[in-house]
């Protein structure tokens, strides 16, 4: 078990950090970027593509870079640190990941190739009840080889700008996935509270191509995509809370009240210490879950382990993200309430990330349903749930 980056990963981190700092090192640039459509910097997106970062987790045969989710996580941490609004999580991790898992070789080459090169922006258009992997609200009808989609999706990330939508829809087999060109649908975009972009997409009988096997039930693939979105999104969140702690600490050292800097008030410094504790514990759990995701993707572990890890990360992030995000504002005081200052925007983005693919309460209920099925958790075993030490059964 090893939590350290190898040299290549370390270099990747430095490269991404340097790149995004040039665009968003000044927070005002981020503020300006999200103020007008498309809500991110297309030049930076192109640079990410040039560096091979948009294709990181995809195979080289599919036009990707052949790295793993660990490398994608490194990118997301750095994006989080500067609150970069680029749609890496939704386009690369969520939509791209689905295409990689489900698409035919041809689809993968076309869609992931286009995504990786920065030419095609993908988005996952999924209408469902509160993070269910099953589609509801969009129906697919088949007529010979032709599929058409009918229905509405309320909040498609970057939906008004995406070149390709991966749409989930109810089919006789369960939930299917379909490829629809972005400009073939009716879509009305709007800004979300975190500065991102979302769109209502109305599908009025649009023609669609099945992603992967026509007629197959893709519910479990969608579930895996949601789980991965949680785990990778938690890496973005980790970057945010790490930076919020840095910002808060710096503020406490520089801001004066009652004639002294705020770090003279022990009640405040102890709360900063508690933030540190939350950040470090989150760091550990997120790193572990990311390794689980990579391990599952490599076929070394069962997909249930991804689902378990994602749920655990969601629970942790729901606690620590709020703790740090709220305390960062409170310890800054009024200045953090302003849009000019990045701490509040971080808390806003954390809130988005918490609710994107399944929140704390949702996953707490899910974990609670099976809590009696295992003994003590063991992260050093082949499955964290699988091997309660024998001693758990002795001694009573």
């Amino acid at each position: 078990m090893d939590f350290t980056y190898d040299d290549e990963q370390g270099a990747l981190r430095e490269a991404v950090r340097g790149l995004v700092a040039r665009t968003y090192g000044e927070y005002e640039n981020r503020r300006r970027t999200v103020a007008s459509d498309p809500g991110y910097d297309e030049r930076l997106w192109g640079q990410l593509a040039e560096m091979g970062l948009l294709g990181l987790p995809f195979g080289e045969d599919d036009g990707g870079s052949g790295a793993t989710w660990v490398e994608a996580a490194i990118v997301l941490q750095e994006l989080g640190r500067v609150l970069a609004p680029e749609p890496y999580l939704t386009a690369v991790v969520q939509a791209g990941g689905l295409v990689a898992d489900v698409g035919t070789a041809e689809q993968r080459a076309e869609l992931l190739g286009g995504l990786s090169s920065g030419e095609r922006l993908l988005s996952f258009a999924h209408a469902s009840r509160r993070w269910s992997p099953s589609a509801s609200g969009v129906t697919a009808s088949q007529d010979g080889d032709t599929w058409t989609l009918q229905g509405r999706i309320d909040a498609v990330p970057q939906g008004a700008n995406a070149d390709v939508l991966i749409v989930s829809a109810e089919t006789p087999a369960g939930t299917g996935l379909f490829v629809v060109p972005g400009d073939a649908v009716e879509r009305s975009g709007h800004a979300t509270y975190d500065g991102g972009r979302s769109a209502r997409v109305v599908l009025g009988g649009v023609a669609a191509t099945p992603l992967g096997d026509a007629g197959a039930d893709q519910t479990s693939a969608i579930a895996a995509a949601l789980d991965r979105t949680i785990v990778l999104g938690a890496n973005e969140a980790l970057g945010i809370i790490e930076q919020q702690l840095v910002d808060t600490t710096a503020y406490l050292k520089s801001r004066k009240q009652f004639g002294v800097t705020l770090n003279n008030f022990q009640a405040l410094t102890f709360r900063a210490a508690d933030m540190y504790t939350s950040v470090e514990l989150t760091h550990s759990l997120v790193a572990w879950a990311t390794m689980v995701a990579a391990s599952v993707a490599a076929g070394e572990r069962d997909s249930e382990q991804l689902s378990d890890a994602a749920a655990r990360v969601a629970v942790q992030l729901g606690t620590a993200g709020r703790h740090v995000g709220q305390e960062a504002i409170q310890l800054h005081g009024g200045i953090a309430m302003t849009a000019e200052y990045r701490v509040g925007a971080g808390t806003s983005r954390l809130t988005y990330l918490e609710h994107l693919a399944g929140d704390r309460g949702h996953h707490l209920n899910e974990l609670a349903a099976v809590v009696a099925d295992h003994g003590a958790l063991d992260p050093l075993a082949a499955s964290v749930l699988g091997s309660a030490p024998v001693t758990a059964e002795v001694g009573s």
């Binding site: 209502r200 004066k256 009240q257 409170q330 309430m337």
Partner: protein, 383 residues
């Protein structure tokens, strides 16, 4: 000890409830109950309706519109107002500068300002905080220098809530830089149309425009606009902030918000035992808080405020924030969608996160919760 309200107080409560729910337009109250943003006109209209019925400034001296109510009556008035979604009388007018002028003002100032203040014919803004004088208010640096009978004001205020609507601003300024910082402060009333005064919006993290910076560049203020003594402003500030903190817990509005959330999200709540338990905990804490407010008002008649009143702001804002956080979780991914109709549940979901972010201010403004803890630990516990 007595569990019931007296019959008289029951009747009073009923009277308030009837007035608020029948005399203030439903469309204004809906804006409040749904957590939307009130317009300037709606706030003024509502306050004028209250003022016409003698319900805008009941705690002022009776000659200026006060009602000589007991603290319990004032509590019931306030709670019923919140429960009905009636916008509270503009705090800067009714709660801050009005009592100050009534207490410290000259007869001319009272005559000139109090009726217009009670009726919101003047919209007051507050000019206290500065970039380097927040919790440590006495560190303020905006100066006023004598020029004949006038004062020349230079400097900058910040966090001026709704300053974009303001007609006049009551301002703490430094009139003597050579003495202990509290001893060199005065209060001036300043017409916001005066040359050299500029209001600049501050965008908040919820995207809204609620607070402002107010810049003063050689702003000339007539000597007659000084309140109280020269260099006596700190006493006035303490009087004003003391009024602000006593007995103010936003219980009624928080209860309404929680009840509303339960109703709108009934299906979700029915499925989720953890959400139900969380709501029970919030309801229970709100009940304890409301009972504490009642205990305090029943006890403080004609004397010092009850010590427990310090917990009202502290716990009241925590619960206010906790309810906004609950609503964020109830909304979940629905908060990402576009709710076109502002009065719809969908729009309420969409507003959930901006509201949550906006209410982070509740524990920062108006005496931060750290200041409240200090008041309790030093003032009450003697630590």
């Amino acid at each position: 000890m007595q569990l019931q309200l007296t019959e008289e107080m029951q009747a009073f409560r009923e009277e308030m409830r009837t007035f608020f729910t029948t005399q203030v337009p439903q469309e204004i109250r809906d804006v409040v109950l749904q957590g939307r943003e009130l317009s300037r006109d709606q706030i003024v209209q509502s306050m004028q309706i209250l003022n016409a019925a003698g319900l805008a400034v009941p705690h002022w001296p009776s000659e200026w519109g006060g009602r000589d109510w007991t603290d319990l009556q004032r509590h019931l008035w306030n709670e019923e107002m919140q429960a009905a979604g009636v916008p509270a009388p503009l705090m800067f007018n009714a709660g801050m500068i009005g009592p100050v002028i009534a207490h410290f003002g000259t007869p001319e100032q009272k005559q000139e300002f109090l009726p217009k203040t009670a009726n919101c014919d003047i919209w007051w803004s507050q000019g206290f905080s500065e970039p380097d004088a927040g919790s440590d208010l006495a560190a303020l640096r905006t100066t006023a220098v004598r020029d004949g009978d006038d004062w020349i004001v230079n400097g900058q205020k910040t966090w001026t809530t709704l300053g974009q609507y303001g007609d006049w601003i009551f301002t703490l300024v430094r009139t003597n830089p050579d003495v202990k910082k509290q001893a060199g402060i005065s209060m001036l009333l300043i017409d916001m149309r005066t040359e050299g005064l500029e209001v600049r919006p501050i965008e908040l993290i919820d995207g809204g425009h609620e607070v402002n910076e107010v810049w003063f560049t050689d702003v000339r203020v007539p000597g007659a606009n000084l309140v109280g003594e020269v260099d006596g402003g700190w006493t006035i500030a303490k009087f004003l902030l003391g009024n602000e903190r006593v007995g103010v817990a936003p219980v009624g509005a928080t209860k309404q918000a929680l009840a509303r959330a339960k109703r709108i999200c009934a299906d979700l709540i029915a499925e989720d035992p953890l959400l139900r338990a969380r709501i029970v905990e919030l309801e229970n804490e709100l009940l304890a808080l409301e009972l504490t407010a009642l205990r305090v008002v029943a006890h403080s008649a004609g004397g010092e405020p009850h010590p427990a009143s310090s917990v009202l702001k502290l716990k009241g804002t925590e619960l206010q924030q906790a309810v906004t956080e609950l609503v964020v979780d109830l909304a979940g991914p629905a908060a990402f969608a576009l709710g076109d109709d502002e009065a719809s549940d969908e729009a309420w979901f969409r507003r959930s996160v901006p509201t949550y972010l906006n209410f982070r201010k509740a524990s920062i403004y108006g005496g931060s919760n750290e200041i409240q803890r200090q008041i309790i630990s030093r003032g009450i516990l003697g630590l």
